[in-house]
């Protein structure tokens, strides 16, 4: 990969003596990719973004943009633009003046400024509101102005700090698609911070999951979802069942209720404590007398709750393992339903589980 867009090496941020907001991050973001930093509030993702932008300086570490070290450069000397969570549109300027701001600061020629501003306003479909003030626009429109204002400068990297947070669900989903398309068309590297894993999974080429200042896992959406490498990541993304088990000598796992199940081949040593991470949709319920596919794991359970979600059914089942296990069944025509109190077999393919250590 020639010249990655952004490289972080050993980036740490300390506030005072006690708080370590960001702890030794190593990250490479590729040119032209849509990269999301995902994690719960306070995990350090926004701080990391702000350090890339230049609003904060790292306590130590290196941040390189296309190979160029940023060091202590202030934000106005970095080839990066930001879309803020609150949009930060200048209230006393019109939409067009807002968008033109960056170009004016860089002393771009007036005629070129006008052309570029009009072009980008067309791209976000706000050409007709060019003279409006931000307070006269809806949240969705303001967000597009913020986007236009950043993009018009053709930055090397675009940073987005939870830009869709203030929008209602339908609008947010529409904007997610729009943003993804836009990024594809424009080709600029996007670094997107969010706590909404749905958003990250949908929009990103790759995701970096953070927790308590550390980067836990980086990978494509499928990797993060299907093969989480830590308990936290498994739990944070989507619904997950986490079942403790102990490895026995022959590569199988011994569950708390005495049942032995097959697991994906891995490096877990005999006797090691592991966690099986199982997505609810990878589990199925079978009648006690039904035939079960070969090689699949099978545990006897009792149904304790059934919830109807329209497109899916959620079952809580008791396997004698302490906490209940969640099963998700698609509401297909003719699907078999299980009543509360009924006994059934919980079935899954050994490969569907993720073996997580620690």
């Amino acid at each position: 990969m020639s010249n990655p867009a952004v490289e972080l090496s050993g980036v740490t941020k300390r506030f005072g003596d006690e708080v370590i907001a960001v702890n030794g991050i190593e990250l490479t973001i590729n040119d032209g990719e849509f990269f999301s930093l995902l994690g719960p509030s306070g995990c350090g993702k926004t701080t990391t973004l702000r350090m890339i932008a230049g609003f904060e300086f790292p306590s130590e570490g290196s941040i390189r943009v296309h190979g160029a070290e940023m060091g202590l450069k202030p934000p106005n000397e970095r080839p990066i633009n930001t879309v803020f969570q609150s949009y930060a549109l200048f209230p006393h300027m019109s939409v067009a003046e807002n968008v033109a701001f960056g170009l004016e600061m860089k002393k771009v020629e007036k005629s070129e400024v006008e052309t570029r501003v009009n072009r980008v306003l067309d791209q976000v479909q706000l050409a007709k509101r060019a003279d409006a003030k931000p307070s006269q626009l809806s949240g969705g429109m303001q967000q597009r102005v913020a986007l236009a204002r950043a993009l018009v400068n053709e930055p090397e990297v675009l940073l987005l700090d939870e830009p869709l947070g203030a929008l209602d669900l339908k609008l947010r989903q529409a904007m997610q698609v729009e943003l993804k398309d836009l990024q594809g068309r424009v080709g600029i590297t996007f670094i997107y911070v969010t706590h909404d894993q749905q958003e990250a999974l949908t929009m990103s080429d790759r995701i970096g999951v953070m927790s308590e200042g550390s980067l836990l896992q980086v990978g494509r959406s499928e990797e993060i979802y299907e093969r989480p490498t830590s308990r936290f990541v498994a739990d944070f993304i989507g619904d997950i069942n986490l079942i403790d088990a102990t490895m026995d000598g022959s590569g199988s796992a011994h569950l708390g209720n005495g049942v032995t199940v097959g697991v994906p081949a891995g490096e877990a040593a005999a006797g090691a404590e592991v966690t099986l991470a199982l997505r609810p949709e990878r589990l199925a319920l079978y009648d006690l007398d039904e035939e079960i596919p070969a090689g699949h794991n099978r545990v006897k359970v009792r149904v304790t709750r059934r919830l109807y979600y329209g497109d899916v059914y959620f079952y809580d089942v008791d396997a004698g393992l302490g906490s209940e296990i969640e099963v998700k069944e698609e509401n297909r025509p003719g699907v078999e339903l299980y009543e509360v109190g009924e006994e059934a077999y919980l079935v899954w393919s050994p490969e569907a589980a993720n073996l997580v250590l620690g």
């Binding site: 040119d31 032209g32 300086f57 290196s62 941040i63 060091g71 080839p79 053709e154």
Partner: protein, 302 residues
């Protein structure tokens, strides 16, 4: 696609180390300090130093010709603060300031409440109407009462017309009280209004929902929540009233000396600067106590 990287000044930019971070923080700090410097310097020279000088002077002596001698440091001036005459003047001023504050509060609270409960349009108009006297010249507003309360003034004339004696209100404590209330009423209204306006009225609604009647809801919800406004307004009225000079000078009589005039006379007529300084410090001390007291009292009700 994206532009090729800039390479000119790459040789000089290094990754960040803790030392560099500290240097950047210090630079930012210095910048802020310099921006504050004009104000800092000005206030130190023309405020802090004068304050210290007053403190120093309060321990000095006054020689026979009325000049201040910066030797023979003593506590005479402070001792004099406790003499009967001074205590009497102080007490008179204190009572006057307290009464002024209470009267202002009694009339301003319903007034502010009324304004805060009008529609936004009406509120704006009413506020402007309150602001106009607030911003108008203080001396002139006090002087207006001099005209009104004079023995030939409208008040007097009216009482005569009603068949009674001409009311002689001028040069009495009552006149000063009226003048002080008039002068400082807006200072009480505005913080009260601000506190009431920002209040969450849904809390009153909730109280009503929980079977409280109007006056209980007021006592238990509105009043405590508006306390910051009451405290702020009270301080803004009490403190200037305690040290009032102009109003008593115009409306008050020679027989009833108040603190403001007493202090001023030490520097003009009586020429006893050390004593005047001690008085000033004494008054400031009381005001500081009053401020703390008001804040505590206000906080308790919350």
């Amino acid at each position: 696609m994206t532009a090729p990287p800039v390479t000119d000044d790459q040789t000089t930019v290094a990754p960040v180390t803790p030392e560099l971070e500290q240097a950047a923080i210090k630079a930012e700090s210095r910048r802020g300090f310099f921006i504050s410097l004009p104000a800092f310097a000005y206030l130190v020279v023309f405020f802090v130093i004068p304050l210290l000088l007053v403190f120093v002077y309060s321990f000095a002596t006054r020689d026979a010709t009325g000049l201040t001698v910066l030797e023979d440091w003593n506590l005479e001036s402070y001792k004099r603060l406790f003499s009967p005459l001074v205590l009497e003047i102080f007490l008179r001023s204190l009572i006057l300031a307290l009464v002024t504050t209470v009267i202002c509060l009694l009339f301003s609270y319903p007034f502010a409440y009324y304004i805060a409960t009008r529609s936004p349009g009406a509120r704006n108009i009413l506020l402007v109407l309150v602001m106009i006297p607030f911003w108008s010249n203080f001396l002139v507003r006090t002087y207006a009462w001099r005209v009104i309360l004079g023995s030939d003034g409208p008040v007097s004339q009216m009482s005569v017309a009603l068949g009674g004696e001409p009311i002689r209100l001028l040069f009495t404590n009552t006149a000063v009280l009226i003048g002080l209330v008039y002068g400082f009423l807006p200072f009480m209204v505005l913080p009260l209004y601000a506190a009431l306006e920002r209040m969450d009225w849904r809390l009153v609604e909730a109280a009503r929902d929980l079977y409280a009647d109007g006056s209980t809801a007021f006592r238990k919800v509105t009043l405590p929540l508006s306390m910051p406004g009451v405290v702020a307004g009270s301080i803004l009225v009490f403190i200037p009233s305690l040290g009032a000079y102009v109003t008593p000078a115009i409306l008050g009589g020679a027989k009833t000396t108040l603190l403001g005039d007493y202090i001023v006379s030490q520097f003009l007529a009586a020429r006893n600067w050390p004593f005047g300084s001690a008085l000033s410090f004494g008054v400031m001390f009381v005001m500081l106590l009053a401020t703390i007291f008001y804040f505590r009292a206000g906080a308790k009700t919350l």
